[in-house]
Amino acid sequence: MSILDWSVLLGTILFITVYGIWRTRGAQNIEGFLKGNNREKWWTIGLSVMATQASAITFLSTPGQAYEDGMRFLQFYFGLPIAMVIICISFVPIFYRLKVYTAYEFLESRFDLKTRILAALLFLIQRGLAAGITIYAPSIILSTILGWNINLTNVVLGVLVILYTVSGGTRAVSITQKQQMAVMMGGMIMAGIIVVNLLPPYVSFPDAIQVAGEMGKLNLINFSFDWNDRYNVWSGITGGLFLFMSYFGTDQSQVARYLSGKSMGEIRLGLLFNGLLKIPMQFIILFIGVMVFVFYQFVQPPVYFNKLEKEKVYETAYAERMVKLEQTHHAIYKQKTKHIKALVKGIQSEDAGAIVNAKTNLNGFNKQEKEVRNQVKDLIKEVNPKAETRDTDYVFITFVMQHMPVGMIGLLLAVIFCASMSSTASELNALASTSLIDLYKRSVKEGGSDKHYLNMSKFFTVVWGCLAILFATLASQLDNLIQAVNILGSIFYGTILGIFVVAFYFKYIKANAVFWAAVVAETLVIFIYIRTEIGFLWLNPIGCLLVIFFGYLFQFLRSAKQ
C-alpha cells in the first residue's frame, strides 16, 4: 500500500477516534454516559442506527453477493420500513415514558425480575459473541488480502473502539457514527463512480446497466414463495419484519441509539429516516457489486478471489492441477471477450437478434467458468478440508486492491474500519449498559453513588471490549463462525421479540406464563433448527409466535386451576 493510502486510512480512523474523545471530554454522570443526557437530534439518531447496523461485512460481503448472485439480496430488507413504523407506534412511546436505560428494564415493570434477567442474559450471550465476530470478520479478510497480522488487526480495532467508548459513552458512539457514516457512504459512492469510469471507453453507463440486466444481475424481485429460499419478497417482508422488529425493538445495541433522543418526536423521526433510507443504501452497495461484475466482463477476474487459499495449493503436489485450471479459466475468458463485445454492440445498435445470440454464447461460457471455479474450490478442499471455499467476501476487496487508484484504497479500507468500529462501539456500549442496569445495579449493588455506577459502566465497557478482542482472536480457529453467529441471533431473537410482543399487546398473559412460554419456545426453536432444513430467517417469527401461543396456553391453564 502507498504512503498516501496509509495516510488516508490512519488519518481517518485516528481523527474520528480523537474527535470522539475530545467532543465528549469532561465530567460525566451515569445518565450522560448511558443515554447521552437525551440530547440527540433525529438525524444523529438515524445515522447512528444505520451505522450500528452497517458492519464491515456489509461493505465487504454485499458487493460480492451481488457479483455472484445479483441484487435479489435487497428483498431481505423489505420488512425493515414496516418494522420501523411498528416500533415507532408501539415500542418507542413505552420506552420513552418509562425513561428506561435498557429495553429489558421495562420487562420487570410489566412482568417480573426473572423475565427481565432472562431477556438480558439472552441478549448478553448473543451480542457478546457477535461483538467478537464484528471485529474478527473484517480482520480475517484484510489479513488475507493485505498480509496483516490478524491478531494485531483485532487488537488495534478493538482498542481504538474501547478508547472512545469508555471515554464518552453513548454520546461518543453517536458523534463518531455520524462521521463514520459520512466516510462509509462517501467512500462507496466514489467507488461506484470509479468502477464505471474504469469500464472500457466504448461502454457507457447505460450500456453497463444493460449488460448487467442481460446477464441476470438485476434480479431484484422474486414473488414466488419458497420456505427454503431466504431472498424473496414474502420471506423479506414476513421473516425480515420479525427479524428487524427484534433487532431494532429489543436489541439494546439499537435501543440505546434511540433512547438517547431529545424527545419522542426526534426518536420517531430518526427511526423513520432509517426506514426510508436503508433500502436505497443497500441498493447502492449491491449496485456497486453489479458494476464490479460488469467490469470483470472486460478485465479477466481471478479464478478464485481468496488468494491465500489459492497460494496454499501452489505449495503442494496439487500445484500442477491448479495451473491447468487457471489456464482453462484464461482460455474461457479469452473466448468470452468477443461475445461480450458483441453484446455491447448489439445493445448500442438495439439489435435484438445480436443481443440474444451474444447472451446465449455468454451464458454457455459463464457456465463453463463456473464449473472451473467449482473445480478450483474442490481442489482447495482437497488440500485443506477446513478451508472456506466461499470467496464472495473477497471479491470487492480484491477489486479495490488491484484496480482502485492510489488514495481510494486507503479511503475504502477506512470505510471497512469505520463500519467495524461503529458496530462494535454500539455493541460494547449496550453490553455495558445491560450488565450494569439489568444485572449489577439490580441484583448486586443497589443504592450506589452516581460516580460508582459511572466507573462500573466504564469497567464493563473495558471488560466486554477485551472479551470481544479475545473472542475475535479465538474465532480464527473455528470454521464458519460468521454464519454460526448469524444463526445464533435468529435462534434467540424470536423468543426475545415474543416476550416483548406479549408485554405490549397481550395483557391477559402474566409473568410466570410468559417466562415458561419463553423457555419452551426457545427449546422448540433450537429443536426446529437442529431437526429441519427450514431457512434460519423463519426462526424469528416461529420463536415469537410460539411464545405468544404457549403464553396464552399456560396463562389459561393457570387461570383455570385457580
Partner: protein, 44 residues
C-alpha cells in the same frame, strides 16, 4: 393509542400527524417494490 402532550411538542416533518409520516414510509416501500419489479421484468 395513548397520546400525551409530548406528541403536541414533537410534530413530524411535513405532516400534521405521525400517521402521515408512517404512510410516507410504507408508500416509499411500495413504490420501491413496484420500481424494482419493473426493473426485474424489463431485464427478465
Amino acid at each position: 393509542m395513548q397520546e400525551n402532550e409530548q406528541e403536541d411538542i414533537d410534530k413530524p416533518l411535513f405532516f400534521k400527524s405521525w400517521k402521515g409520516m408512517y404512510w410516507l414510509v410504507i408508500g416509499a416501500l411500495l413504490f420501491q417494490i413496484i420500481l424494482f419489479y419493473a426493473i426485474t421484468r424489463y431485464f427478465a
